[in-house]
């Protein structure tokens, strides 16, 4: 398939900027688990007579994002109304941006490839419908929760520069890394703070014309994004190869069934009757303010990653460079005297999977204890998590538990002999050439003496068995 079809993907990503309040009123941006309609007021309920007021923090987050994505910021921008009726849209229109977005013409580097960004604009989110029964048209009862109505959203639209499911996923992940690094959004996909909608089409390899595209919605993880695109590419190529055609439509992704399904075809697409929002005067963006935001931008992930690559292998950089907190932890701990590679490995193997971060000073201290051979890796792990839980220092914990590592050969020789005596079958197996039998011997040894230096003990067992 890949040699006959070229995949073309453009991404629309909706991101909830980090703000305290909603886009056009003073209501708090609540949590997913807050009771329905607990963050609403007359403005976001769309009551008659109410008017929107622009949230400056949302504009700032959008400008930050746009600048980090190398976008141009025009002098004038404005909001427009996108008109359609739906029960989750209290005003009967969404305030969005149409022909004069907050920014345009940027780009993002993903694994050395440049993905062009068409625009980044601001809009408001809709509410949420909960149906008792089936979908809206069949449900007996439907409930409207407007906690999310009016929550700010940035829409980041790329050009159709992505050529595979891998690239699309990597693009979305890179975007998340960037948004977190600059503090524009927490970009948590599971909380709906980052929603990716790929526009997918395929064309004959070598063709320069775009095929008919479909847009995918309801994707709530990077894994789902990847799978949905693979599925859709497969579906489209099968359709074309069997003499059929692709219909321009919006399709939903079902995680349960692992397939896409038709939601709305273009013939039934709404005419949104965009027109300038008369309740909000056009925004004239202050150049000095934009320069200030630009100056205050932290180091971008791509720059930091390049610096980390000077010290560490690519595998470790992929993990550490993708997360601002991990990278901060790494760099600060190293600055406080921890060795780079062991610290990076520790972060990759212990910190990243658990999500539990110790302060850099204490991590550096722990790394030094481990490096000096004073404690075992298991002891270090125990001390690490206890330190995270209790806030005490690793040194205190190690001293209190009497953790130490036995590296003394004469002491360990007695132990190794006892292990061989106790496990005659494993010893015989090893001697007969089944090297994996060593694992059973080591396990028994660590059970008898958790504080044994595994490297020295292993060497002793090898020596005794030879």
């Amino acid at each position: 398939m890949t040699d006959t079809w070229e995949v073309v993907i453009g991404m629309e990503v909706h991101v909830q900027p980090r703000t305290r309040t909603k886009m056009f009123c003073g209501c708090a941006v609540g949590d997913v688990n807050d009771p329905p309609n607990s963050h609403v007021c007359e403005v976001c309920l769309g009551l008659p007579g109410t008017l929107p007021v622009i949230n400056k923090a949302a504009v700032e987050a959008c400008l930050k994002t746009a600048l980090a994505l190398n976008c141009e910021i025009p002098r004038h921008t404005k909001f427009d109304r996108k008109n359609y009726m739906y029960p989750d849209l209290p005003k009967g229109y969404q305030i969005s941006q149409y022909d004069l977005p907050m920014s345009k013409n940027g780009h993002l580097e993903v694994d050395g490839r440049r993905v062009r960004i068409r625009r980044v604009h601001l809009e408001e989110d809709t509410g949420k419908l909960v149906h008792a029964g089936d979908k809206l048209h069949k449900a007996r009862e439907s409930y409207v929760d407007l906690n999310r109505a009016g929550v700010p959203l940035m829409e980041i639209v790329s050009e159709p520069d992505l050529r595979s499911a891998d690239e699309a996923r990597d693009y979305a992940m890179e975007l998340r890394t960037l948004l977190r690094a600059i503090g524009a959004s927490e970009a948590d996909m599971e909380k709906g703070q980052l929603r990716a909608e790929p526009n997918i089409s395929i064309r004959r390899a070598g063709s320069s014309e775009l095929g008919v595209k479909t847009e995918l919605k309801n994707i709530n993880s990077f894994r789902a994004l990847h799978r949905a695109i693979l599925y859709e590419v497969d579906r489209q190529s099968q359709a074309l190869e069997s003499g059929g055609q692709v219909v321009q439509e919006t399709r939903g992704w079902s995680d349960a069934e692992q397939r896409t399904f038709s939601q709305r075809s273009k013939e039934f697409a709404e005419d949104y009757r965009y027109f300038p929002e008369p309740d909000l005067p056009p925004l004239e963006l202050d150049r000095a303010w934009i320069d200030e935001i630009k100056r205050a931008l932290p180091e971008l992930p791509s720059v930091r990653r390049a610096r980390l690559l000077d010290q560490l292998p690519a595998g470790q950089v992929a993990v550490i460079g993708a997360d601002r907190e991990l990278a901060d932890l790494y760099e600060t701990a190293v600055a406080k005297g921890a060795l780079p590679l062991p610290t990076a490995n520790w972060i990759v193997n212990e910190v990243a999977p658990s999500g539990k971060l110790l302060d850099p000073q204490n991590l550096a201290e722990l790394m030094k204890l481990l490096d000096a051979g004073s404690i075992t890796r298991d002891q270090a792990r125990e001390a690490y998590f206890e330190a995270v839980e209790t806030g005490r220092t690793p040194a205190e914990i190690v001293a209190e538990h009497g953790h130490k590592q036995i590296s003394d050969e004469s002491e360990l020789r007695v132990l190794a002999e006892a292990v061989i005596d106790a496990n005659p079958k494993a010893a015989a197996d090893y001697r007969a050439g089944r090297k994996q039998a060593m694992q059973a011997l080591m396990a028994d040894l660590r059970k008898r003496a958790p504080q044994a230096n595994p490297k020295v003990a292993n060497e002793l067992l090898l020596k005794l068995l030879d």
Binding site: L51, P52, N83, Y93
Partner: protein
């Protein structure tokens, strides 16, 4: 002042003086108005509903402040509020059945500011549904009658507010003006009605008809009262991004009646509009003569795009209304046809039942004008015309300080005479809507009668130029001796 036995013919200034002198109390003033309403409102039908729970508390508070000696300027003054302005806990329906039973949980800024200044709300006045109309016949409830001739309309859309002031049911009333909805009924009812510069008064709490044109303004019995009321509700509101704090409003000064040396622009197109009545023209020409004799210079000006103004207005206003009225879907408040088989049908049934003919017509016109393929030809073109009309006024104001004309081409017309012909109704706004398209301040003051019915003189000022507009209107009021009077109705 007038006969003190009748407390329902006073201006704000007169009433305020007597309230401070202790001639009568706020409670007595309110009671006099309530009794007047009981006598005459079944004839005029200016009010949709009354608010005793509000006026009792407010009158009591006004009397307390008056006794204390720190009463705000409007303390104890009976106020009527058009049914498009939200008042907390008071049913507010925009003259529409679709909002029946809707009680806003908040009070809009303009009304709230007048409450803070001591005004006492008497009730909610009738209007054309969602302020769409020029006769108050499009009310979802009943028509209001002109106090000077009960067989005729009071004008609209703020007909209830104009009629309330003209019939002695309130000393001041609030209206809204999108294409002439304050000035035209003021003219037809013989009272003062004033539309501020767009942005002068916050629209927060005003149930929107056309957001880029709507402004709130007062109906009063004198120019001074209009200036005072405006000054108390004007100014930047953080809840309305289109509102502004601007100079040009030192209304508490006493304007002298002096117009010597002022240049008054007379736009020839406004005197040649289709259907202008000779009697109206004659009354206006007489008024201009009064001003000229007092030393004002009459200058010929031209507003060449006047003919296109009406067309542009009837694209832009419906376009905005089609979007503003989308929220009335029967899901959250007001009328709801819940027995529909599905949501689309629920929308259709609710809106079909809740909206009147004129509202439906404008929603359809606006929806069409914004549709893909028509947007450029209609909405965009109309916005270009709007720019040209603004430019016309800019040019005219280079040659003059204020523009004077009739407010309405006709006097009050018989109820039912235009309801079958929407276009003839739309023509009622031909002299006023330019002010809305250009965002200018305008006032209508009584200037005599034609066939025994009131005629209004319109004075338009430049943007943020309320002062000059008030000065001319006040001068005319003083020089002519023509006052807004209260109809007898007995």
């Amino acid at each position: 002042m007038n006969d003190l036995t009748d407390l329902t013919r006073l201006t704000i200034r007169e009433a305020a003086r007597h309230l401070r002198l202790g001639t009568f109390s706020a409670a007595e003033l309110v009671t006099a108005h309530v009794e007047r309403i009981e006598r005459v409102d079944h004839k005029v039908k200016a009010f949709l509903r009354f608010t005793p729970e509000v006026w009792e508390k407010q009158a009591e508070e006004a009397d307390r402040r008056l006794r204390q000696g720190d009463a705000p300027p409007l303390a104890g003054i009976p106020l009527a509020v058009k049914d498009v302005l939200c008042v907390r806990g008071v049913e507010t329906t925009a003259g529409s059945k679709i909002l029946r039973g809707f009680k806003p949980p908040y009070t809009g800024t303009a009304v709230d500011r007048l409450f803070d200044e001591g005004a006492v709300m008497i009730g909610v006045t009738n209007c054309d549904e969602f302020a769409m109309g020029s006769s108050t016949e499009n009310s979802g409830y009943f028509p209001t009658h002109n106090p000077w001739d009960l067989t005729r309309v009071p004008g609209g859309s703020s007909g209830g507010s104009a009629a309330a002031v003209a019939s002695g049911e309130a000393i001041v009333a609030l209206g809204t003006d999108t294409g002439g909805s304050i000035r035209q009924p003021a003219a037809l009812c013989g009272v003062v009605g004033m539309k501020p510069t767009y942005g002068r008064v916050s629209r927060y709490g005003l149930i929107a008809f056309a957001s880029s044109l709507d402004q709130i303004g007062p109906f009063t019995r004198s120019v001074d009262d209009a200036a005072l009321t405006l000054s108390l509700m004007a100014g930047r509101d953080p809840l309305d991004s289109t509102s502004a704090d601007r100079a040009g409003l030192d209304v508490l000064n006493n304007y002298s009646g002096d117009v010597k040396g002022m240049r008054l622009g007379v736009p020839r197109e406004y005197f040649e509009v289709k259907g202008i009545e000779p009697g109206v023209k004659a009354a206006i020409e007489a008024a201009l003569f009064v001003l000229q004799r007092a030393g004002a210079e009459l200058v010929d000006v031209s507003l060449p795009h006047t003919d296109y103004g009406l067309a542009a207005y009837y694209i832009i206003a419906p376009a905005e209304c089609s979007s503003n009225l989308a929220r009335f879907d029967g899901v959250r408040y007001g009328l709801s046809e819940v027995d529909a088989p599905n949501i689309t049908e629920q929308y259709l049934r609710t809106r079909r039942k809740g909206f009147g003919t004129e509202v439906r017509r404008r929603v359809m016109l606006g929806t069409y004008a914004l549709s893909t393929g028509y947007y450029d030809a209609y909405y965009l073109k109309a916005q270009k015309v709007r720019t040209l009309i603004k430019r016309d006024f800019d040019e005219a104001f280079k040659k003059c300080d204020a523009i004077v004309s009739a407010t309405s081409p006709t006097v009050a017309f018989p109820i039912g005479s235009k309801t079958q012909d929407p276009l003839s109704m739309y023509l009622c706004d031909v002299l006023t809507l330019g002010g809305n398209l250009a965002g200018l301040p305008g006032i209508s003051v009584p200037c005599g009668t034609s066939d025994g019915l009131p005629v209004g003189l319109q004075v338009l000022g430049p943007q943020w130029g309320e002062n000059v507009m008030f000065r001319v209107a006040r001068a005319y009021e003083e020089l002519s001796g023509v006052r807004a009077e209260v109809a007898d109705l007995d």
